[in-house]
């Protein structure tokens, strides 16, 4: 921009100088500048003003929002722990041939004993132990145990270390250290995709019984799809009613949609807990009118059913509002025309009305779907074990008992990629500009 401004000023000076000298008949403004230049200048100015107005928000969001997302992306591939805490080992292990089938030599063992002793002293050994434990279980206890004794180990290191714990015999451990000694790793993304390094060094799927996240992603997508469908089925008749009623009563009924929309998410989740729990309102009513026995109360919550019901309720207004605003624009005369041409009410509705509402259903559907796949709070409170989504796993890897930030970041990035695909679709189909609120 500055260089353009500079050029422009230079050009302007030149033109002004020329103006006095010659009059070549070009159209000029009152102060003698060629009209084309004046127009260009005005356009540039208004463009600059628009950019300057947007700039503060843009900079604000880059710092508070975009950089954090990139930080997360960075965390999902970053892996400095091993190189940082086992510096001697990663140098020595370079010479070891991992395809040889024999343990590394004495030098590597000496290096790792010294690294462990230092790590123990700096209290950093736990970090590397946890990192290695992500890949091979039992590594945390191996490092803790050996770390305690590392300070006292004398040569021959290899023999001594193997005497402390046989697990140092594990070739996979050494392969792991050699593979992950760099600053970046693909192992978090592999784990998030249920893949792993095979003993021959290649990459393959995990054994069937250890594939977790694929099922989780499938479950998240399936539940979100189901919730979106339920929302559409429930929203359609209601939106149609709201759009066709006279303005006054329509607006009055609209309050019934807007109030839940404006009510706190936690309030609505709390309500569903009160309704669905085994001593809750619905079970009590069913017992009260004798449909079920007191001791065979239905399990309506802390399972998939709870998640589906509560989330459908919470997301329903997001489907009703776009559908309503599209239906509002369909002239009633279309249906009358269809009827007068001999269509039955049903045919007129299906052939004339419904195709006109596709845009609204698409907008609401994508919006609900995007919101649903990232949901955390409601599934965490009413989902139990079978109704939790990918977000709940991400959260538990960040703050739960099984901390693994790299894996959380990798799972988060995969979820984000899915959401962005749908966001892109939304933008193409609806246009972000057309997003309406309230």
């Amino acid at each position: 921009m500055p260089s353009r401004l500079h050029n422009f000023l230079k050009r302007r000076k030149k033109t002004l100088a020329q103006t006095e000298a010659i009059d070549d008949g070009t159209m000029r403004t009152a102060d003698g500048m060629p009209l084309k230049l004046a127009l260009e200048r005005a356009l540039f100015r208004s463009r600059l003003r628009a950019v300057l107005l947007v700039l503060p928000l843009f900079a604000f969001l880059v710092i508070t929002f975009v950089l954090p997302i990139f930080d997360m992306l960075f965390r999902s591939v970053e892996d400095q722990v091993i190189a940082e805490i086992l510096p001697r080992t990663v140098v020595e292990i370079e010479a070891w041939d991992e395809t040889s089938g024999v343990l590394p030599g004495e030098a590597v063992f000496e290096a790792i004993v010294k690294d462990m002793a230092e790590g123990k002293e700096n209290k950093t050994l736990g970090k590397v132990a946890r990192r290695l434990n992500y890949e091979i279980s039992g590594m945390a206890s191996l490092f803790r145990k050996s770390g305690r004794k590392a300070g006292k180990i004398e040569a021959p290191y290899k023999e001594q270390l193997l005497k402390i714990d046989k697990r140092w015999n594990n070739l996979e451990l050494w392969k792991l250290i050699k593979r992950e000694k760099g600053y970046f790793t693909a192992s978090y993304f592999l784990a998030a995709a249920d893949m792993e390094y095979k003993p021959d060094g290649g990459i393959g799927m995990r054994p069937e019984n250890r594939q977790i996240y694929q099922h989780l992603f499938v479950r998240t997508l399936w539940l979100s799809g189901l919730i979106t469908l339920l929302c559409l089925v429930l929203a359609y008749p209601v939106s149609y009613l709201l759009a066709t009623l006279p303005l006054r009563s329509g607006n009055l009924l609209m309050i019934l949609v807007l109030l839940p929309f404006w009510t706190s998410l936690l309030v609505r989740t709390t309500s569903w807990i009160a309704l669905l729990q085994s001593q809750g309102v619905i079970n009590s009513i069913l017992v009260g009118i004798g449909i079920i026995d007191d001791d065979s109360r239905l399990q309506l919550i802390h399972n998939q059913f709870g998640t589906i019901v509560a989330m459908t309720h919470i997301l329903l207004p997001f489907m009703i509002l776009p559908l309503y605003s599209v239906m509002k624009t369909i002239p009633p005369s279309y249906m009358r025309a269809a009827r007068s041409l001999g269509a039955t009410p049903f045919t007129a509705f299906v052939r004339i009305y419904m195709p006109n509402t596709v845009a609204g259903a698409g907008a609401g559907g994508i919006l609900v779907f995007i919101l649903a796949i990232g949901y955390y709070i409601t599934p965490a409170l009413v989902g139990g074990r079978t109704g939790t989504l990918i977000s709940n796993f991400i959260a538990s890897f960040i703050s739960g008992s099984t901390q693994n930030w790299g894996l959380a970041a990798a799972l988060g990035m995969m979820l984000l990629a899915i959401v962005l695909v749908f966001y892109f679709l939304y933008d193409k189909i609806v246009g972000i500009d057309n997003m309406k609120l309230g």
Binding site: R47, T263, V267, L416, I432, G438
Partner: protein, 284 residues
């Protein structure tokens, strides 16, 4: 469908009433869960359910002690103070930068308009858990984690898309000849902004601010990750309350929150009518 014609046949009549019943059922599904907590919050016993005394309308089954607990317990009072403090500052921040940006975005001269808009709206689209995790990682690096400022910045970022959307929507109907008229009458741009533009876009700004406020006021995921006990807000207290020990105090709080939403909804509706009146549309 909106009304039954006198000449409607039997089938049409049946369908009409069936359809109305279906709609009524869906409206009940939408609204009943919100109102069911009202009576439950006056429960005498510490349960989330109707006791026999309550069902027989025995006054002894009802009490306001959960409300008393909410208003007297220090941790709830701290939560209320934190919630308002964070929400007000986040709203001020997001409304200011959001409104200014919306003015720029509405200008036809804005380059790369849709790409920029896509980025500005993204905090609304990116799943909260991802925003929260990313902010937790990044804010920890720069020392903003577990501070009020950190939570305020995070909430302000989440609130800006709403301000941008509502204010640009108001500006769509904005008549730019008004600013030219002001200029031709000798008003400088600053004066024009405050005397002509602001009064006209004010409904949009206020409703955007209300959206930003409620976004922050209801938000729990980001507070859970970026904040600590010091930044404990009302939703945080409710979330941990539901997870640990369920007490009807949560229902009392929930009831009060519903009342606040009703207030906000009324304000928004009034603003919408004013906006449409100003733009020469008939109030709907």
């Amino acid at each position: 469908m909106s009304s039954l014609q006198p000449y409607a046949g039997k089938l049409e009549r049946t369908w009409f009433y069936t359809y109305r019943t279906i709609c009524a059922a869906i409206f009940v599904f939408l609204i009943a869960p919100i109102f069911v907590i009202f009576p439950l919050s006056f429960n005498e016993l510490p349960y989330f359910t109707f006791t026999p005394e309550m069902l027989s309308l025995d006054p002894a089954g009802y009490s306001t002690k959960w409300y008393a607990e909410f208003f007297t317990e220090q941790s709830w009072r701290d939560a209320v103070a934190n919630s308002f403090f964070i929400a007000i500052f986040a709203t001020l921040m997001s409304t200011t930068v959001g409104t200014v940006a919306a003015l720029g975005l509405s200008s036809p001269a804005m380059p790369f308009r849709s790409a920029v808009m896509a980025i500005l709206i993204s905090p609304m689209i990116v799943p909260l858990i991802i925003s929260a995790a990313g902010m937790f990682f990044f804010y920890s690096r720069i020392g903003l984690a577990s501070t009020h400022l950190g939570v305020i910045l995070a909430h302000a970022a989440l609130g800006t898309p709403f301000v941008v959307i509502t204010v640009t929507a108001t500006l769509v109907g904005f008549d730019h000849s008004l600013t030219r008229a002001a200029a031709s009458l000798g008003s400088n741009p600053t004066r024009t902004f405050f005397k002509v533009i602001v009064p006209l876009i004010l409904p949009g700004v206020i409703s955007g601010a209300l959206f930003a406020f409620i976004t922050s006021f209801d938000e729990v995921v980001v507070v859970l990750f970026v904040g600590s006990v010091e930044q404990r807000t009302i939703p945080w207290k409710m979330f941990s309350g539901i997870r640990e020990e369920i007490r009807p105090t949560i229902l009392a709080v929930a009831t009060l929150l519903v009342l606040i939403s009703m207030l906000l909804l009324t304000m928004l509706e009034l603003l919408r009518r004013r906006n449409e009146r100003l733009r020469g549309l008939s109030p709907g």
